[in-house]
Assembly symmetry: D2
Homo-oligomer: 262 residues x 4
């Protein structure tokens, strides 16, 4: 175990295939459905996203859900659909790892490994992804302080993996008007504290479709290195988070609205 | 007492002299010291702000302070300095009203009456400013919900005054890294809910000088109708909030950085 | 203005008629309706409370309400009903002061002047009650820190009035299961920090009738100097907060349940 | 996967050796050091606790720490010391499980398996302990809602294990006076919602030694089924949380102070 802090603020550029994230590179766009629900859904959504401008495809095959009785994801079947969509569109994939047991499976399909908000304090899992040679997308815990989030990234780095993308996804506050309170100040703060690229998820960060555009604009204007947006080719049919999912055309409108900001 | 909601989302444009705030008008810039400390301080700061581009001069003569033993403001003497600075620079003045007793005095000097964060729930005071014919700048309570803030504005409107400018100034959260958590999502939400102009105070909203530029950019990109920034000609000498006050040149840098965003 | 802290932890015993609050005295019970709604309601409730064991009658004549269109209280008419109930039962009265304008009227009727949660940061009002010779019941602001609350009391003391009773009434948190989160740790903390008596309001502190008994027990066991409980002779008819009001018999059950705890 | 809720409020009594927890049984006392640091420390503390009245010995061998560079626990060596202390004192052991990988090892030594606050949302781990035949002590997530916490318990029950003890350990709030805000209302709420025994950890819940006694009293008076208190035979030498650890004699004073409350 090293005792010298690794993430000291020096810029880290994360590479995924020929995509460069962070540093002085232009913002990247990650989009896709909350959870993989069917072969058609993920492939059709991926194709439409590719046409509209998208860098990485997201989609959950294993879903952390508050209730044990809610849809928990398609598992490996979902990963296969993601892979197929990736091969058709040439988009790399980010998907969530929930435990060490499924690590090998996730590594076989994913280009970027997501650690979700609920696992940000799961130090055993952070150590595990510190040992893999793929980039990690580390979401902020729903009530994690800046210090705790920076140290969660440091866990991954300390165990060997500096290819970390941070993702602000809203924090818990006293108001329930929005699903979470998107803390945009975390973008410049975490970039300075860690040097890592920081992206923003305005879909979970607000939970309200009409806020995704203004908050995407705010994120990019504050210096965010990318966005992660929930897109579903038919949001009204989504099994989870349909209320906050954009259609591909609504997504295009958001992407177009930020082009003058960077 | 009327029972039909007045602030329903129809756009309200607030006019101060020949300045128009809200609607499709370009963002306005309010700047000045946290508290008026001396004649030289406020006049010198005002002149330097005017030269760099500023629409309204701010400064507190009566200060709500956590401790009764902290500097409580210069009182009417401070208002006279503000007035003198206003006459020299032709900048209108916004200053805080803390109680009905000082209403007549404040009305004599101020162009815009500020209701501070600590008085957002002071319904007696809201009714009082509902009865005056000057615009009101209503700061969000430090843990006020969207609904409570919108109703606080509705109090003012219900008692006769629709010329209200809302100001997001950060909310209280679990993290003490920043002084407050600037809730930029409140900008598009409150514009839609009330129709009123919404500005942002990134100085109190973060309490960290280096965050004022990125958060000013984020605010304007999200649709804010203006900014309110603490500027002191000599921040190191400020009696309150010097740590978060910009110099006039730092202020200019912030203003320049947002010019491409609206 | 003095600069030496007055409330340093030395025990303060507040006296109201022959009632002694704080120090080593036994807990007191304040009860009554949220707002005064009719002559019958307040007199009938007071008589039933007196029969069941009650030290102070509470009731609001001027109500701070989130919406300007909600019932704002009966005003002086309500104060007269309170006074009549007090004369019949010999119970002293606590009622809320919302602004300096109504101070003389409140002083004419009230034995204890309440400063509500929404006015805890209203420093002008705190200075005003610092100048009166009746005890003040100072509720904690809904998101006031320990330090801010202690300084709010210090404002009152610094302006001349040390007869202050503090009242914990729940703080705002991320969970909406209860109306507020009752912070019982504030009882021993504020007693030690200020020396003032500290009582608890489990009615606003939880907003759930079935929690009033266990939280009353918890409060007294932690050292609280009293309780303030909403009681209505017909809760189902209450104009405000009926859902959290106890009947007189339910109140009696709570009082009986804590008798072994002090 | 079953779809019918299991924890519906019917009383669950958890048995550990001949100890009965929950239902109408008297409160239990869990005590011991935050982390196991040495053979002498854990054995000496256990003996002194046994003499003063203690039902279960606690101690962490694997510690979730915010920084990867902080002491992470002695691992299996620590478990062996716990076992030895248990054999000497006949006290059952509760210790934390952080990942499935160490499950077999923990099962070999522990009588009760603790899921820490940081892993309350770790649904993979909850499913794992749903499959074991030892009781689980499930701490509340540091900002978990009542609903989320109840569902976390439901995960364990849904996967086969109803022997769950809930532990309130304070929630995150806006005030940093205390380490956390102990939410005592969670005791009656969770007992009613789930039927499970609910205990309280006033050590983590306050982080202040002088508050442990009044908050222990408050917890028991509210109906808690037990307490979990950090005790160290030499707190000044503790490697973690020494500031909030009681000496065995201070622990005895707390235990004595609650004897009249149940």
């Amino acid at each position: 175990m090293k005792y010298k802090k690794i993430l000291t603020g020096d810029k880290v550029v994360v590479e995924v295939n020929d995509l460069k994230i962070g540093g002085n590179n232009k913002p990247i766009f990650i989009a896709g459905p909350c959870s993989v629900e069917s072969r058609e859904q993920v492939i059709e959504t991926a194709i439409q996203l590719k046409e509209r401008g998208c860098d990485v495809l997201r989609g959950g095959a294993f879903k952390p859900r508050t209730s044990p009785y809610d849809f928990q994801g398609l598992g490996e079947e979902g990963l296969k659909y993601l892979k197929e969509a990736s091969e058709i569109t040439n988009l790399p994939i980010v998907t969530e790892l929930m435990d060490e047991t499924s690590l090998d499976m996730i590594l076989e399909y994913a280009d970027i490994i997501q650690i979700g908000s609920r696992n940000m304090y799961n130090y055993s899992l952070l150590k595990v992804v510190g040992g893999v040679n793929k980039p990690v997308l580390l979401k902020r815990g729903m009530s994690a302080t800046i210090r705790e989030w920076a140290y969660a990234a440091e866990y991954i780095a300390a165990y060997g993996n500096k290819n970390i993308i941070l993702c602000e996804r809203g924090i818990r506050s006293f108001d329930s008007y929005t699903r979470n309170t998107l803390d945009i100040s975390a973008v410049p703060i975490m970039k300075q504290e860690t040097g890592l690229p920081v992206i923003v998820d305005p879909s979970h960060g607000t939970g309200i479709k009409s806020l995704i555009k203004p908050m995407s604009r705010a994120s990019i204007a504050s210096g965010a290195d990318g966005l992660m947006i929930e897109v579903h080719f038919k949001p009204e049919n989504a099994l989870s988070d349909g209320f906050q999912s954009l259609t591909p055309d609504e997504y295009l409108d958001v992407i177009n609205s930020i082009k003058t900001l960077y």
